[in-house]
Subunit: 303 residues, 2 copies
């Protein structure tokens, strides 16, 4: 089943502690999520870029099962761009510059008519107001709607976020963001409180410490894949979320066991993402690589 | 098979963010490790306390399969005591006061003659020089010798610690301590470098983020048991290590699969430890509770 993804397409400029850097490579929450999901299912991407968006980037996406009818190019505008620097631990980062450009304010992405019947929807890291707007354009309530969010929106768009939480089935966020959203220090207690706000499951991402998924009935825990060669962590969380949603859309299921299984594939895809800058390592990966690392991973956590 | 444990027996005074406090309750790395191991196998405890050690504490230990022939009381001395305060996240803590008392300097604990044939040995958090001294008193090299260490000894006793690493089979330490010992930020790379220093396996404890065990051939990953009701984290690491060693001693095995299985039991025992101050929750727990939580835990991580 197709997966609808809305999120940013961006220019990323990244510097790592080893001194390596990349300038204006392809990034953005929508791009990472769509690319990761496309290992498992056809994707419909909705995003907005400027006239400076290189054809080459579009070609990289078009080589996958990613529909680009919803990738709107605004010729007079400039693409969203982010410049950041990772600290020594490769987990914390500093934003050096951010230009919203075409994504400024209510940027109203167009949802193509042919996408409005989507049954699986992933709202990648984007303003809650945009998420609500997109949902209002769909023909009917999807079978599964999941959103990612971040500290910025928790601080600055709390009302839209609360409304969004009432409309979605699942929320994906970082551990520090669960604390911010609830005021609770214990992330499991915090996730439980988020369930009270609407969603029927919450996936908490803990970076190199793995993730967990909480529903009203159960909890599923997963460590991160052990990576000794982290080149660039950018996009790890978005590709995790995208692969999770791609796996669910492919199976057409969203029960707790299917989510648990999807989290394992998501962990493996994210582990490939951080082995290169931008999408470069994901571009080299095949479904065979993913299945083989998944088998190794299963072996690492079975007792 | 019996497990020999050397480590501290202490008075702990603890304050938690909720404002709850306990004064001079039973603690110490040797006590927690021995108590946790005693769920699985007979334990031989070697430790030194002062004349102020309450009979009541001895009785609590004596109710378990914990041999106390090696618990030396120095009537003229005072028991090691620690006073600390946990910060809001329940993971970081501040030491407010520490009195080594009878454990000052080369405190030379006596190893009873009947303990000198021990085949499974756990050197709980204690000066590396004491660990070396104990090993020198054994009749022969044990089948499995594992040590715990901490930042203080990495800083202040690096030479004795390096010598100890050449004599042991396994090292257990916190993630921050792997970085301190190797200068490497990536904990898996750090653990791999520690393997070069002598041990054939390294167990890295990550608090609420679980643990992993690295050998030359494989890695085993385990999340922490999800605890929403953390009363007092004191002793979590020591009871994890003690339960791990107790399980291995009980089985008489130390291959990677046995270690993986022991880590799961260790995780469960540590999860009980933090549900109360001192040993209070562990005193209520039965082997039946442990097996039942272990089954639930397995279900939480299986996909």
């Amino acid at each position: 089943m197709s997966l609808l993804v809305i999120g940013s397409a961006a220019f990323d400029s990244v510097q790592t502690p080893s001194g390596e850097k990349r300038s204006k490579v392809m990034g953005g929450s929508g791009v990472y999520a769509a690319y990761a999901a496309s290992f498992f299912t056809p994707v419909r991407l909705v995003s907005v870029v400027g006239g400076d968006w290189p054809d080459e980037f579009t070609r990289v996406l078009a080589q996958r099962q990613i529909g680009l009818e919803g990738l709107e190019i605004r010729p007079e505008g400039q693409t969203f761009s982010w410049t950041g620097k990772y600290l020594e631990n490769m987990d914390d980062r500093e934003t050096l510059d951010m230009q919203l450009n075409v994504m400024q304010g209510a940027y109203n992405p167009v949802v193509p008519e042919s996408y409005r019947d989507s049954e699986f929807v992933f709202l990648a890291n984007d303003p809650p107001a945009s998420h609500l707007d997109l949902l209002s354009k769909l023909k009917r309530k999807p079978r599964l709607t999941v959103a990612d969010t971040m500290d910025f929106y928790i601080h600055h768009e709390p009302d839209a976020l609360r409304e969004l939480l009432r409309q979605i089935d699942g929320l994906i966020l970082n551990d520090s963001e669960t604390r911010l959203l609830t005021g609770l220090q214990n992330t499991i207690a915090a996730a439980r409180q988020i369930l009270e706000m609407g969603p029927s499951f919450v996936v908490v991402k803990k970076g190199e410490n793995g993730a967990f998924c909480l529903t009203r009935e159960r909890i599923h825990l997963i460590p991160a894949f052990p990576s000794e060669r982290v080149v660039d962590p950018t996009g790890a969380g978005d590709s995790f979320a995208g692969a999770l949603m791609g796996t669910l859309a492919e199976s057409g299921k969203s029960d707790p066991e299917s989510i648990a299984s999807a989290m394992a594939r998501a962990t493996v895809v994210a582990s490939y993402c951080i082995e290169g800058f931008s999408l470069e390592q994901l571009e080299r990966v095949t479904p065979g690589h993913i299945e083989s690392r998944l088998a190794a991973f299963r072996n690492m956590i079975t007792f």
